[in-house]
């Protein structure tokens, strides 16, 4: 069991080791490449950790693993003994022999102990692990917590609310966002012809009884311009990290012809900020004049505010930002000016019934700030095109 504990500890520390990688480590052991605990450290890292950002987590996991076994020397001996066993068999054996009431007892115990949500791994309840508890697992007689069973063997369903949004949280990493945004890309042919169109050349030449007639193609140029308008108000604080991930994904994509971003506070009024910290701002009028209707607009905000912040045409709190129009009027102007615009909203569930959110969602097509939401939003942006 000893080395498997390492596997659990790694996953608990956020290192998503897969079986494929675990097998690499096992193969190294079989080949006699791991003779002591320090070789385990380095060679384990080579095969299990695929980003320097996780090196620290790996260190912590490694220390925890060493300490979990008491005397390090005993740990090594134990480890060597383990080399004779088949690791996969062990995973499957680990809970096989437990009677039902024992599984139930442990389930309750872990539910009590578990404070954070958990994904993967074999000890805690969560998704996609192989502990008998949780959903989407591979265990044969486990307890299923929500979700639909992969192998239909789970004979017990206990639903716990806080597992519901797990999937979105995991999947919203920068890479996935980039992939979702990438679907925005489309090309428009323009400029001088400078590429040989082989298909067309062959066709023309054949028609010409073999006299070569070279046909040129126009260079394909990317014409995508993206404008990001981000709500930086206090109520957005809990979602800051998610917004930043979207922002950095958009910023790192190189296929935009142009990419600009501005901030606003709560709702868009007479002014919009280039830089929130230095209060550097331009008028919203200017924003509209400077950007022609071709720009694609993504607005990110919770759309939650007091009704007067949306409907009143002046308000003493934001007196610097507004003179004439109400927030809702500005939103309508922006929607009307740009041909393609969507709103991404990070709040979930019940808040979508809120009055101001519903009002704004009736102006802009609104999608949740999740991978699935971004994908639908991108589709909408493209649909609006022609």
């Amino acid at each position: 069991m000893s080395l498997l504990i390492f596997f659990y500890i790694l996953r608990k520390n956020g290192i998503k080791v897969t079986f494929k990688e675990w097998k690499d480590l096992y193969n190294l052991m079989k080949l006699g490449e791991i003779g002591d605990i320090s070789e385990l450290y380095f060679k384990g890292r080579f095969v299990l950790v695929k980003s320097e950002k996780l090196y620290d987590a790996y260190d912590r996991a490694y220390i925890e693993f060493i300490e979990s076994g008491g005397d390090p020397k005993e740990r090594i001996d134990e480890l060597m003994k383990f080399l004779d066993e088949d690791y996969l068999g062990e995973v499957h054996r680990s809970f096989e022999d437990l009677p039902l009431n024992e599984i139930l007892r442990r389930f309750n115990e872990r539910l009590m102990n578990q404070k954070e949500k958990h994904t993967g791994g074999g000890r805690h309840i969560g998704q996609r692990g192989y502990s008998p508890f949780g959903s989407y697992g591979v265990e044969r007689d486990g307890i299923r917590v929500g979700g639909s069973s992969v192998n239909n063997r789970a004979f017990f369903v206990a639903s716990e609310r806080h597992f519901k949004n797990l999937r979105e949280d995991i999947l919203l990493d920068t890479r996935n966002i980039s992939l979702a945004l990438k679907k925005l890309r489309y090309f428009r042919e323009e400029g001088v012809s400078e590429e040989v169109d082989i298909e067309e050349t062959i066709d023309k030449t054949a028609k010409n009884f073999g006299d070569i007639e070279i046909e040129m193609k126009k260079e394909r140029k990317n014409d995508l311009k993206l404008l990001l308008l981000i709500d930086n108000g206090g109520s957005m604080d809990p979602y800051r990290e998610r917004v930043e991930r979207l922002f950095s994904a958009a910023k790192n994509l190189r296929f935009f012809k142009d990419f600009k971003y501005f901030y606003f506070h709560n709702c868009i009024y007479d002014f919009i900020y280039e830089d929130m910290e230095n209060w550097k701002k331009i008028s919203t009028d200017r924003l509209i004049r400077d950007h022609n209707p071709d720009w694609k607009v993504i607005i990110i905000g919770d759309a939650l505010m007091s009704p007067y912040e949306l409907y009143n045409s002046y308000q003493f709190i934001y007196f610097l930002e507004r003179k004439g129009k109400a927030g809702i009027d500005w939103l309508k102007i922006i929607k009307k000016h740009f041909r393609h615009s969507i709103w991404l909203n990070p709040v979930n569930g019940i808040s979508w019934q809120h009055q101001t959110l519903k009002a704004i969602a009736s102006i802009f097509p609104m999608f949740p700030l999740t991978i699935e939401g971004i994908e639908r939003g991108v589709k909408e942006l493209k649909r609006q095109i022609y």
Partner: protein
């Protein structure tokens, strides 16, 4: 067959082990690290140490996975057909192999470096999975399957500008090269300049690391700049005692960006 570093390239013990683990498991070795940590030179060193042929595939933003496999020169064939320059019935003479294919067909085991993979499109690494897994690919035009005669040692470098896809990462051995510390850097300099004076070297290294600690530099000096600088210092026979962080001779060899030089002149050199 195992790698133990080579003459002219100082590798840390960890890096050497990583290379060997990759060779034992027959998996690509993904190397990340800031510029100047010798990522590309590693492949050169492996090729040299194990007397293998080095094949370099430089990746650009427009590189497609297929570029590494083959290119069918249809225009040349059309042209030849028209002017009866040569027999065009053999399509094989118009198939040009890419770098990956070159490593596959090589008689002897070779070292293939896929340099700066992060420069390519975000899906590029995924498009290579099959070829790297199976070490073979199919050319429909000639109905040929190119199979690696000898599995090449594959080294992939990245500056981590973009995240690489998980399925790709799972298949790689990974190692992050840290910037060389004082002692390792000393070794590196000695490899290049065995005759360097101890005092000069120590002073130069101290200034070099102090310079790297200045937070606002746009481009920190790296190994190659240090080596250039030491070469200049040695050639100029400068008085060692006169050198300090405030009085850096030939700063242009260490600092490549004009804004950085201006900044240093304003704030540090004074």
């Amino acid at each position: 067959m195992s790698y133990n570093g080579s003459k002219g390239y100082v590798a840390s013990k960890e890096l050497i082990e990583a290379v060997n683990v990759a060779m034992i498991l027959e998996k690509p070795l993904l190397i990340k690290g800031e510029p100047g940590t010798g990522k590309t030179m590693l492949a050169q060193s492996i090729a040299e140490a194990l007397s293998m042929k080095l094949i370099v595939w430089n990746i650009k933003s427009t590189t497609k996975a297929k570029d590494g496999l083959y290119f069918y020169d249809t225009v040349q064939r059309l042209n030849d057909a028209r002017f009866h320059d040569r027999d065009i019935s053999d399509v094989r003479q118009y198939i040009k192999l890419g770098k990956l294919a070159e490593a596959f067909v090589s008689e002897d085991r070779s070292v293939l470096v896929i340099d700066e993979i992060d420069k390519a499109d975000i899906e590029f690494p995924n498009d290579l999975l099959n070829e790297l897994d199976e070490m073979s690919f199919y050319i429909p035009e000639t109905k040929e399957t190119i199979v690696a005669r000898q599995r090449p040692v594959v080294i992939i470098t990245s500056n981590s500008e973009k995240d690489l896809p998980d399925p790709f990462l799972r298949r790689c051995i990974f190692h992050y090269i840290e910037f060389p510390d004082y002692d390792l850097m000393k070794q590196i300099v000695y490899v290049h300049f065995p005759e360097v004076h101890k005092e000069l070297l120590e002073k130069a290294l101290k200034i070099f690391y102090d310079l790297r600690k200045i937070p606002d530099l746009r481009k920190k000096p790296s190994t190659s700049e240090l080596l250039d600088w030491i070469r200049v210092l040695m050639a100029s026979c400068i008085d060692i005692d006169g050198i300090s962080l405030k009085k850096i001779p030939y700063p242009g060899t260490l600092i490549k960006k004009e804004q950085d030089l201006e900044y240093l002149q304003r704030v540090v050199f004074k």
